[in-house]
Amino acid sequence: MQAIELKKLVEVRFHGRGGQGVVTAARLLAEACLLENKYSLSFPEFGPERSGAPVRAYVRISDEPIDIRSLVYDPEVVVSIDPKISSSVEIIAGLDDEGVVVINSKNVNNALLEALSSKPQAKLFYVDARGIALSLGDVRFENSAILGALAKATGIVSLASLESVLRTRFKGAILENNLKAMQLGYEKVGQA
């Protein structure tokens, strides 16, 4: 696995559904990058505000102050937290030719691989985040597992920084399980 190069500006797009912690995952990533003295910006794109509705969230990471405030159209990194959305080829719309995709899936997604065949430099990673979350007793740990996988697949943020941010946000058993999910996501992510 290779880290993607932190260019002047890296744009990340998260896909998922209301209630899956899409906005939280984006925020945690942005906050972890701040801990590494990078500039970062995260924001959600809501449709109707309700559980189950498709939600996108965006993160921009840069070594310089970030001006651009529009939605993200040409992401370097795409992350899908919802298993079903993970099988949709629409998630790679606008992906950078050398981009990285991280999906919540038990196995290699052939439809996505085929869609990515026009971008030979792009990389697809998959992790069974749902399986990891359920093994820890709650589907809500899914986003932490995905963040762990993202850290390993892209190298845009360290696992340690993500863990630090989790520690400021949660405590007790919820913290421990989120940390475990993140660690497992980091360990178990595979490249297609």
Binding site: V23, S42, P44, F46, I68, S70, L71
Partner: protein, 387 residues
């Protein structure tokens, strides 16, 4: 932290006395955090949970008249519901500070960003400031209180943040210490206020003999704002190294085309102009950071030599010859004897995004018209509207 959290934190550091508010998306996080601060004992203030925005602003006016430092926040329909009381706040010279998370007005119902809400209250006698990012929003809260409560001003101030694009955006924001906040913004000392031991009348009836003069005092106070705000910005700059002025200026020195914009899109436009400059296109940017009073002098410093202006409005004015910001820009140019063509685009209503690439296309469209000697289209154009 998010812009909303940064605003709530600034309001806490400003040590307000009274908050009266009603939650509404996308502003809710601001008043949620404030109610937590009050509940946890981190902020010694009266939090009045009212049943509507009309009551929120009414309570703010009454509290402000007692000499208290007062804050509220709203958006969209909430601001519209406050409308009649907004005029009381300015005419009774209540230095209330309000964060407005700019959101479209119904119908159709929509929770996303545009500037129609504030533009609907444009003439209510409030000072209106636009923030481009979370840092500006945080810093402007302190400046807003200092400006509002100055005895030469005594006007309410709105700090506008684009709904979602700013209100829900998380980024690194530099904060000042509580002691710096206290030094910059000491407790309010009202000269005239409601007091049982010293009875006074506020909001008395005025007949045709004096109404006009009393109303005109709001205009006089508004005219004193640019100089006073500049002094406040200077003091804040000495403390923090951060200064925003009344317009944000980017690469206007040799610009042939200058784009005028307000809010978070100005930041995106800046990104687009950087890219155009790399391609040799002489474009510049003026960001309207102070909208009321309109920064006429500051604008004129930067537009005299441009061949065309592009004015981007995130609100409509149906039936008007120009949208709100363009109306002011055209009046500014006319009074200065400048006959510079103005291309006016309404964009982004109901939260429709505008990308850096779109800003590039808009600017190139005008650059190419100039190159070909084609006249700039008059009236209002609607950018991104489906046919």
């Amino acid at each position: 932290m998010s812009t909303s959290e940064a605003i709530a934190y600034a309001v806490k550091q400003a040590n307000v006395d009274v908050i009266a508010a009603y939650p509404i998306t996308p502003q809710t996080i601001i008043v949620e955090r404030l109610s937590e601060y009050v509940h946890n004992g981190e902020l010694d203030a009266e939090y009045i949970a009212v049943e509507s925005e009309h009551s929120a602003m009414s309570a703010c006016v009454a509290a402000s008249l007692t000499g208290a430092r007062v804050f509220t926040s709203t958006a969209s329909q909430g601001l519209a519901l406050m409308h009649e009381v907004l005029y009381l706040a300015s005419s009774l010279r209540c230095p209330i500070v309000m964060a407005i998370a700019n959101r479209a007005l119904s119908a159709p119902i929509n929770i996303h960003c545009d500037h129609s809400d504030m533009m609907g209250s444009r003439d209510a006698g409030w000072v209106q400031i636009f923030a481009e990012n979370g840092q500006q929003a945080y810093d402007r809260i302190f400046q807003a209180f200092k400006l509002a409560e100055d005895e030469d001003i005594l006007l309410p101030v709105g700090v506008n943040i684009d709904g979602f694009f700013l209100s829900h955006a998380v980024e690194g924001i530099a904060t000042i210490s509580d002691s710096e906040a206290a030094t910059f913004l000491p407790p309010r000392k009202a000269k005239y206020y409601l007091d049982y031991s010293m009875p006074m009348t506020f909001g008395a009836f005025a007949l045709p003999d004096w109404y006009f003069e009393i109303k005109h005092q709001v205009v006089e106070a508004m005219d004193r704002v640019p100089k006073k705000l500049a002094e406040i910005e200077e003091t804040y700059y000495k403390m923090t190294g951060r200064k925003y002025d009344h317009v944000g200026v980017y690469k206007t020195e040799d610009a042939e085309v200058c784009l005028v914009c307000a809010g978070s899109s100005a930041a995106t436009a800046k990104f687009a102009i950087t890219r155009l400059r790399e391609k040799g296109i002489k474009a510049g940017l003026l960001s309207i950071r102070l909208f009321r009073p309109f920064p006429v002098e500051s604008i004129l410093l930067h537009v005299k030599d441009v061949k065309a202006l592009i004015v981007m409005d995130r609100a409509m004015s149906p039936g008007a010859p120009s949208a709100p910001i363009a109306q002011d820009i055209k009046a500014t140019l006319y009074d200065a004897g400048l006959n510079i063509p103005v291309a006016n685009f309404v964009y982004g209503l109901g939260g429709r995004d505008i990308s850096a690439a779109e800003f590039e296309s808009i600017i190139m469209k005008i650059v190419e018209s100039l190159k070909a000697g084609r006249p700039i289209e008059k009236g209002v154009m609607y950018w991104g509207l489906r046919a």
